[in-house]
């Protein structure tokens, strides 16, 4: 299920804001679509991103997908555990499978993101539409 304490993007990332730091990952729906994840490319600490900027890639056996920042900010931490064992993204996408932590440039980006309820609706529409 999609937790209520995070915000969602239309490209299936989530961000959990705690003070001035946002933790970013991909959603359970995203990991299911990808299948077993075998590679993860993440930026170095210190990189600065705008919102909606590509910050890495995630690869399963079948497919590769770009990762986009839900919010602007500077990378302050990278999940080395997930780089070494990308399978934890499949096992725990909203927990141990987080990807990077950003020091937010502003708190305006977060307001424009989806709630869990909106995201669920969005996923349903995406599955039935397109």
């Amino acid at each position: 299920m999609n937790p209520d304490d995070v915000k969602y993007t239309s490209s299936h990332e989530w961000v959990r804001v705690d003070g001035e730091v946002g933790t970013i990952g991909i959603t359970d729906h995203a990991q299911k679509q990808l299948g077993e994840i075998v590679y993860l490319e993440l930026p170095e600490v210190g990189h600065v991103y705008n919102a909606n900027e590509e910050f890495g890639t995630v690869e399963s056996v079948k497919a590769v997908s770009e990762l986009f920042t839900p919010v602007a900010g500077e990378v302050v931490e990278v999940n080395k555990g997930a780089v070494g064992e990308p399978g934890i993204i499949n096992d725990d996408p909203f927990g141990d499978g987080w990807l990077v932590k950003l020091k937010l440039s502003s708190d305006e980006d977060v307001a424009s993101l989806m709630s869990a309820e909106d995201y669920e609706k969005y996923v349903k529409e995406e599955e039935h539409g397109a």
Partner: protein
């Protein structure tokens, strides 16, 4: 994250479609067929085939009957391998080639008798292949697309023979590699069973009537529980065939790649007489084959995928297949490289979405099953 496109409407379905849904498969559009890409997961299914036994629905494959007193002569002219060498009940790997020696398709030829053959082709190429063979077959021969008469279930893995022998009569598991028989009943249904596959493991392919497919698939799943049987999708089929360095039409071979470039010279028998593509292939061999399909491993991180550009010391190449090898636990692939860069040990670079990643030509197959 970039979302994959949703499936289009009006896809063809195999007789096992209902079972795939029941088993919770994820379905994808594969060359106009709605096929299972995975059930439990690609890695798990891959392992089941390497260690136990897996079941694949490959009913989308096409079947052509080539029948008549002129069948042998027609196939000799249409395909590069020597059909005269086939005995009744034997199969060989071959191709339809263009005049340029490039692939219309790769295929299997089953010899039923001197004037009756079954040609098994790639699903999405079936209409093209049928038209190709029908319009070019000379003499007293009839070519018919009989694909809708058959469902096809592949039973693959070290325990495939044990499983199949328990539900079959007479027992087909004494078939030699690339042999087949048509008198075997599997789970009570009449079949054609061949000792063939696309996984690099021992295994069988069971051709049956579409209305018998569910019963056989269910029967094998139930009986195989003790063997650790797993239903397997196209995802595992791709990783398995790639580890065994079996070419995939549309990825590694197509009408721009010759049989020699594809490293499939062993199916080309110029001494048997004339066949479509022969002259071009002889000319290419005499002039020197300019590029070659080779196996590679990545020395840097990341998976080099189909279509990615390769850069060697002697010129450009292209990646034709790439994946994460579940058995080896590392990224592997196939690439068409200039002949001067095609020897084992040669280092080259692949452009992985703008990043130059190191790769190295390695011996193939990547995986060879342990001898029994």
């Amino acid at each position: 994250m970039g979302a994959p496109a949703a499936a289009a409407a009006a896809l063809k379905r195999t007789p096992l479609y209902g079972i795939h849904r029941e088993l919770g498969a994820r379905m994808v559009d594969f060359g106009s067929w709605e096929m299972p890409v995975q059930y439990a997961g690609i890695l798990e299914e891959h392992r089941a085939v390497r260690e136990c036994v897996g079941l694949f629905d490959v009913s989308h494959m096409g079947e052509l009957d080539v029948v008549g007193p002129g069948a042998l002569a027609a196939l000799q002219a249409l395909t590069p391998n020597d059909v005269a060498k086939l005995a009744d009940g034997r199969i060989h790997y071959s191709a339809f080639l263009t005049e340029r020696g490039t692939f219309v398709d790769d295929l299997l030829v089953y010899r039923r008798s001197a004037d009756s053959y079954l040609v098994v082709v790639n699903a999405s190429n079936t209409p093209k292949d049928f038209e190709w063979a029908r319009s070019r077959a000379r003499g007293d021969v009839r070519v018919a697309d009989v694909s809708s008469d058959y469902a096809l279930i592949a039973v693959q893995g070290p325990k495939a023979a044990a499983l199949l022998s328990r539900v079959s009569s007479p027992d087909p598991t004494d078939l030699p590699y690339y042999g087949f028989r048509e008198d075997t009943t599997v789970c009570g249904a009449r079949t054609l069973v061949s000792r063939t596959g696309y996984t690099g493991e021992d295994g069988f392919e069971v051709y049956c009537r579409p209305e018998d497919a569910e019963r056989i698939f269910h029967g094998l799943l139930d009986e195989g529980r003790a063997d650790g049987v797993a239903p397997c999708g196209l995802g595992a089929r791709d990783t398995l065939r790639l580890e065994a360095k079996m070419a995939l039409y549309g990825n590694d071979i197509d009408d721009t790649v010759t049989a020699y470039e594809a490293d499939l010279g062993w199916i080309v028998k110029p001494s048997k007489g004339d066949f479509t593509g022969r002259e071009a292939l002889l000319a290419q061999k005499a002039a020197g084959v300019p590029r070659k399909l080779v196996g590679f491993e990545m020395s840097d991180r990341g998976i080099a995928r189909h279509g990615y550009a390769a850069k060697t010391a002697v010129g450009p190449g292209v990646v034709t297949s790439g994946t994460h090898s579940p058995t080896l636990g590392k990224p592997i692939g196939l690439a068409l490289l200039p002949a001067g860069a095609a020897t084992v040990g040669t280092e080259f670079e692949v452009d992985i979405r703008g990043r130059a990643a190191g790769a190295r030509v390695v011996p193939t197959p990547f995986y060879k099953r342990p001898s029994p």
